[in-house]
């Protein structure tokens, strides 16, 4: 066996195989899922290690090279996101498995696990894929699994699932139209081939515009974010965590892949500024709305809209000449956001379980059973705001350096104002913990410590990401997509 190919093969096949297993034998769900999650996390760590050691590599599926065949592309960016998926996937599975059974937020527990594993498999397939149509199929896998998981919460979540489904299907259809145009122009679907062959002309520009529009819709970038808060706010906690942390990041990942790959010649100042302004608007608008929310999970959901705005700042900064620090900073920020946001949603899930309600004013009082969750919430908040030495700080630091180097003081200001908003709304949430509250909710003894621990481990990872700055820098430099 060629050692380096085993990692992607495991990451691709194991979630799907486990999904089939738990579909056929629902009774084995929890052990199979947790076992597979552990193996997947190990495989992702290993893949990251291999990338660090020997750089990016490509695997031709079926031995067919592009343009005929499909390839897998393993580089720093995809390895980092695979690892993020595995971390959030494991923590979410642990959280979901250890919630108290009678209070399950899921209507039909038997189907949670296959859907969860299918979502994981779709995400891994997406991060590995180097082929634009393969990406589409993986995106649809992710979409349907997400819809199923949101809909599991029942009631009004089904309406949210419907809106999400419509938005995401529209996004992938528009994306596919762009893919068709590219295929007609270049007879290639492979990212690397397109990167080499792309020219600046009308067809390519239209294709780029369409694919970007579709992906902006999927990444819930302002003003196409309308579907996100309800869907992420109403889903079961573990589902909200993976949706906000990874599924949105998948759309963003593709945007970055395309604009730093095939479409790089098209990234002029105009396009880049437009994308940057969208990001800036998202930061401000999402931050403002998060500040106005009265329910904990909705606050966190709006925060996702706001935080992904930062990611788009990479485009104007890169176009202005600071491609390297901007790229590293934005990707780091997305990774740190993923870990922190998943931690926030899991912590919120545990807190809401404890109090039986998620209105902010009712979360105070006796915090036994939710202490760990609040600690996790605080640490994750620190990373999201960007306090040193967390991952959030590192990302913002690199972005700020890119802004300073290119004289982009407007983008720097956005960064600062956005940080202010983040601090304000998270402070509001944390304040709720120490208020005197009414006595309600369930017996804290029935809440497993694993709930809080799952959130805490993710929050600590987000914080520790800042300490891993040198490794992260090397990792993100590996690969054809990395600029500079």
């Amino acid at each position: 066996m060629i050692p380096e190919t085993a990692g992607p093969v495991i990451l691709f096949s194991l979630p799907l195989a486990a999904a089939i297993t738990v579909f056929i034998r629902p009774r084995w769900s929890v052990p199979v899922t947790l076992g597979a999650s552990g193996v997947l996390l190990a495989a992702a760590v290993w893949v990251v290690g291999v990338v660090l050691q020997q750089g990016a590599w490509r695997h031709d599926i079926g031995g067919w090279t592009a343009p005929l065949g499909i390839g897998w592309n393993v580089d720093g960016l995809s390895a980092a996101l695979l690892l993020l998926t595995a971390a959030v996937g494991l923590a979410g599975a642990v959280f979901h498995a250890s919630r108290p059974a009678p209070l399950a937020t899921v209507r039909d527990p038997r189907f949670f696990w296959p859907l969860w594993l299918f979502l994981w498999g779709g995400l891994n397939a997406l991060f590995l894929a180097a082929d634009l149509f393969n990406v589409y199929v993986a995106l649809e896998l992710v979409s349907i699994a997400s819809v199923g998981l949101i809909g599991l919460a029942g009631g009004s979540a089904q309406a949210a699932a419907w809106r999400y489904l419509l938005a995401t299907l529209l996004g992938s259809t528009i994306y596919l139209f762009g893919v068709a145009l590219l295929y007609g122009r270049y007879a290639a679907l492979d990212l690397a081939l397109l990167t080499d062959g792309v020219e600046r002309d009308g067809v390519t520009a239209v294709a780029a515009a369409l694919m970007t529009l579709g992906l902006l819709l999927k990444a819930a970038v302002f003003p196409l974010h309308f579907w996100l808060p309800a869907a992420h706010g109403r889903a079961p906690p573990a589902v909200s965590a993976v949706l906000s942390a990874v599924v949105i990041a998948a759309g963003y990942y593709l945007l970055v892949r395309l604009w730093f790959g095939p479409f790089a010649p098209l990234l002029g100042t105009g396009v880049a500024t437009l994308l940057g302004l969208l990001g800036a608007a998202a930061v401000l608008w999402g931050g403002l709305l998060a500040l106005l929310q009265r329910r904990l999970k909705m606050l966190i959901a709006y925060s996702t809209v706001s935080q992904f705005g930062y990611g788009l700042l990479v485009f104007p900064l890169a176009a202005a000449g600071a491609a390297h620090p901007a790229w590293t900073g934005a990707v780091t920020l997305v990774l740190a956001h993923g870990l922190a946001k998943a931690a926030l949603f899991l912590a919120a899930g545990a807190i809401v379980l404890r109090h039986g309600i998620d209105r902010l004013e009712a979360l105070g009082g006796d915090q036994r059973g939710a202490t760990l969750a609040w600690v996790a919430f605080a640490i994750a908040s620190a990373s999201l705001v960007g306090l040193p030495p967390t991952g959030g700080f590192l990302g913002k630091w690199w972005l700020a350096q890119a802004a300073l180097a290119t004289g982009g003081y407007f983008w720097l200001a956005i960064l600062m104002v956005g940080t202010g908003f983040t601090a304000a709304y998270l402070w509001r949430a944390l304040q709720a913990a120490v208020r005197p509250g009414r006595e309600a909710g369930i017996d804290p003894a029935t809440l497993s410590a694993a709930l809080g621990l799952a959130a805490l481990s993710l929050a600590l990872s987000a914080a520790a990401l800042g300490l891993a700055a040198p490794v992260l820098g090397v990792l993100l430099d590996a690969g054809p997509g990395a600029p500079g």
């Binding site: 649809e140 489904l165 299907l169 007609g184 007879a187």
Partner: protein, 101 residues
């Protein structure tokens, strides 16, 4: 080619229907027409290529199966949502034949 224009027309019709229709089922139909226009673009491209290119055919076959899956999920959701609305509003079931004569 006639079909290339058809692609554009269907794309606009689908998009227009998706944004203006207020009925859930109608939006789904519009989305399906939008998807068909994308498939049509792929196949027109295959036809224009010399010699005939079979890769888009396989791609569209895959796409059709995916579309029927998403449509089925969407329809199941619509029916459940409608059912839930019905439970909330049993009294308003006076004219049950809103759509079919």
């Amino acid at each position: 080619m006639v079909y290339l224009s058809l692609t554009g027309v269907l794309f606009v019709l689908g998009l227009h229907g998706l944004f203006t229709a207020r009925n859930l089922l109608r939006r789904l139909l519009s989305l399906n027409i939008l998807t068909t226009s994308v498939f049509l673009l792929f196949v027109v491209m295959a036809r224009l290529a010399e010699p005939l290119d079979n890769v888009p055919h396989a791609i569209v076959l895959t796409g059709i199966v995916i579309t029927v899956s998403t449509t089925a999920v969407a329809l199941a959701l619509v029916v459940r949502i409608a059912g839930r609305m019905r439970e909330e509003d049993v009294g308003a079931a006076a004219d049950t034949r809103g759509d079919v004569e």
